[in-house]
């Protein structure tokens, strides 16, 4: 990858789906060191491919390692986190030489981040420097990625930042001059989204980008993301626990549980024919908004502690399909037939054949 061409917004981005993924992750493990020398595998042997213009939803229980995975992809792990094994390969364009992200030096990494790979963080409150204005932080981002030999054009920068803010339905005249603490939680989150799109990255990790947003804004953002994705062809990883949002936005869905991707497949495969009991339970737990008060189904039991995972399938203790084999060995990832053509569907459950998901019929007012 050449450093100089990074920030180009002009090149044709509406690449067609090919066999070349923009990002392919293989057997990625992320560990956190904790006190007294122990480590926990917050991400455990995760593999997936992300193709240009594709939206991959990463759903899963709280604490299962979604954020960690996202941070790992950008090599932004905190000092006690590290990647002991696995690979992350990035391809700017189909046909371009692949880049081993884990081997980038800090300078290359700096250029790569945000211009090629951006991330919207969970907890936007602390994502901004509290003592400088949003406008300045936007400008900083733009300035950091001006191409060599070029100078940062202040007016153009403000223009670009303003445009982006408008797209997330914020008033640039107000937000640009504000300090982070002067914005409401949702406004901060939108500002962060606007900032993430500022440089037209090739792929975007969105870590629960809409948790703090109301439905209309959420919708606006989702529509916006879809629209921008259409327009610019970037890929995205949409981390969320909200299946409904994933349903709205994603092409593919990966379900995580206790550090592992336990199922991945196309949108329809996952929502209509989930093969992992956990995925199925998750979908069933979403409460409908209209109609009378329903009895909510939830997955029995509680998520396991990563430090103390059960042997075998980690979902087994909560699983109604569980058998002694499940508790004996970790289930391998199996590829099963997909509903959609040209899509794959993988699942880590030895009982996948037994799992039959009832599609809920949602009553509309």
């Amino acid at each position: 990858m050449s450093d100089t061409s990074v920030a180009s917004p002009s090149s044709t981005r509406t690449a067609k789906r090919t066999d070349e993924p923009v990002l392919s992750v293989r057997d990625l493990v992320v560990q956190y060191r904790t006190g007294s020398g122990t480590t926990v595998d917050a991400v455990n042997s995760v593999s997936f491919d992300l193709y240009p213009n594709q939206a991959l939803a990463l759903v899963g229980e709280s604490g299962c390692g979604k954020t960690t995975l996202g941070l790992g992809l950008l090599r932004l792990l905190p000092r006690l986190g590290h990647i002991p094994s696995g690979s992350i390969t990035y391809r700017r364009q189909p046909g371009a030489t692949p880049i081993d992200v884990l081997k980038l030096n800090s300078r290359q990494l700096r250029r790569w981040r945000w211009a090629e790979a951006a991330m919207v963080f969970q907890g936007a409150q602390s994502a901004f420097n509290p003592v400088i204005t949003i406008g300045d932080q936007m400008a900083d981002t733009l300035k950091a990625h001006v191409r060599e030999g070029e100078r940062y054009n202040k007016k153009e920068g403000i223009q670009r930042a303003g445009d982006m803010l408008k797209r997330v339905r914020l008033d640039p005249s107000r937000v640009l001059g504000s300090y982070p603490h002067e914005l409401s939680g949702g406004m901060r989150q939108r500002t962060l989204i606007a900032m993430s799109l500022l440089l037209d990255p090739r792929f975007l990790v969105l870590d629960e980008p809409t948790t703090a947003l109301d439905i209309l804004t959420q919708r606006g953002i989702v529509d916006l993301l879809a629209e921008l994705r259409e327009e610019r062809g970037f890929a995205m990883i949409f981390i969320s626990h909200d299946l409904a949002l994933a349903a709205e936005l994603a092409d593919r869905v990966a379900t995580m549980y206790a550090g592992q991707i336990i199922e991945r497949g196309s949108l329809h495969d996952i929502f209509y024919e989930p093969r992992h009991p956990y995925t199925s339970g998750l979908i069933n737990a979403v409460p409908p908004v209209v109609g009378d008060l329903p009895e909510l189904a939830s997955i029995p039991g509680s998520p396991p502690s990563l430090a103390n995972l059960p042997v075998g399938c980690s979902f087994a203790p909560r699983c109604s399909y569980a058998t002694p084999e499940c508790r004996a060995a970790e289930p391998p990832e199996e590829t099963i037939e997909a509903r959609d053509q040209g899509q794959s569907h993988e699942v880590r459950c030895i009982h996948w054949r037994e799992v039959h998901h009832e599609r809920k019929v949602i009553a509309r007012a």
Binding site: R174, R190, A212, L216, A285, L293
Partner: protein, 344 residues
């Protein structure tokens, strides 16, 4: 508006909050009125930045209103003597919206949870406090508690932090909980568990809730027996019993919100109208509010005059109030009560 003659736990009357910034005043909350009684739930929904958190902060005594009155058990909290205020403080707990900021980075979960227990004598010794903290963890699904108690916030995921924050609010057995988006980072399954747990508090211990959420499904689920207030640009535009607000929304804004709720069904959810059917997705600037009804630039029911006259929050039925010229008129023409009544 209160069914029985109970004094409400919390009552906000004509509450205003205007932030002074160097670029001008920001009227974040204007003339907000509501009450929460014991065992009741008031859900506050609305667009981002509409003043939900600000209202909640005023209700929690964290921010002094620039106008109006916040009363706890009938007494203005800013006129309380210190003993009364302490009582209020302990009885009203608040869960912050952002668990990344509301946990002390250098205090372990155990320290966070045991501190109030020990301080207020709810636990006799460290051992007991530890046990209770573990129990609290279990209640918010942080199991096994031992794995979490000794962790520090930076070692927790977003949802785990949020649960710690909730657990902390429960330590003092409060009478009223103000929960600001306190399940937003939880996945559905855990969220349901949490809501059930909170619902139990509500039903069995008569705890009142001011429940802020943007997720109407949650408002519906948790606030079914209570009320829901919809805020827009610092004002309450619709308020009423939750089933009615959800199933029979009157304000065009509420309707738009409901229209926009996503469904966990790819085919279905993609048939929804963009913008929830609104004319514009632009959220006006609080410093330059639109004239008349502040919603008029986006309102699908816009009529001439909406941009001139400010609608008042008027009663349209038992316990139902809406601030809309159009739908208000339609419903009120039957009830014939043009003036607004204030509760209590």
């Amino acid at each position: 508006m209160l069914e029985s003659g109970d004094t409400p736990l919390l009552r906000m009357t004509h509450v205003d909050q205007t932030f002074k910034t160097k670029k001008g005043d920001v009227p974040a909350v204007q003339d907000v009125n509501f009450e929460v009684g014991p065992g009741q739930v008031l859900c506050l929904v609305g667009e981002s930045g509409c003043g939900k958190t600000t209202s909640a902060r005023m209700a929690g005594g964290l921010l002094k209103p620039t106008g109006g009155e916040v009363a706890y058990l009938g007494k203005n909290i800013w006129d309380m003597d210190s003993k009364e205020f302490i009582d209020y403080r302990r009885s009203v707990q608040y869960v912050h919206q952002d668990p990344y900021a509301s946990l002390n980075p250098i205090r372990s979960v155990a320290a966070t949870l045991t501190a109030p227990l020990l301080k207020h004598g709810l636990a006799k010794n460290r051992h007991e406090a530890w046990e209770q903290a573990a129990e609290l963890c279990r209640r918010v699904d942080l199991t096994p508690p031992e794995a979490y108690l000794s962790k520090f916030p930076h070692q927790l995921s977003g949802g785990q932090r949020q649960r710690v924050a909730v657990a902390r609010a429960l330590t003092l057995n409060p009478k009223l909980i103000i929960a600001d988006e306190s399940t937003s980072m939880l996945d559905v399954s855990i969220r349901v568990g949490m809501l059930k747990m909170l619902g139990k508090l509500r039903d069995e211990l008569n705890v009142g809730f001011l429940f802020i959420t943007h997720d109407l499904a949650i408002a519906k689920y948790f606030g079914w027996s209570g009320k829901t207030a919809v805020m827009y640009l610092g004002k309450v535009v619709e308020i009423g019993p939750t089933p009615e607000v959800i199933n029979n929304p009157q304000h065009p804004y509420t309707r738009a919100l409901l229209n926009a709720v996503p469904e966990p069904d790819p085919d279905l959810t993609r048939t929804k109208l963009p913008n929830g059917g609104l004319r514009s997705s632009e959220i006006p600037n609080l410093r330059e509010l639109p004239t008349g009804c502040t919603f008029h630039p986006r309102c699908p029911l816009f009529e001439a005059g909406c941009d001139k006259v400010v609608p008042i929050l008027a009663e349209i039925g038992p316990n139902r109030e809406v601030a809309c010229h159009v739908t208000g008129r339609d419903t009120r023409s039957q009830t014939d009560s043009p003036t607004r009544e204030l509760a209590g």
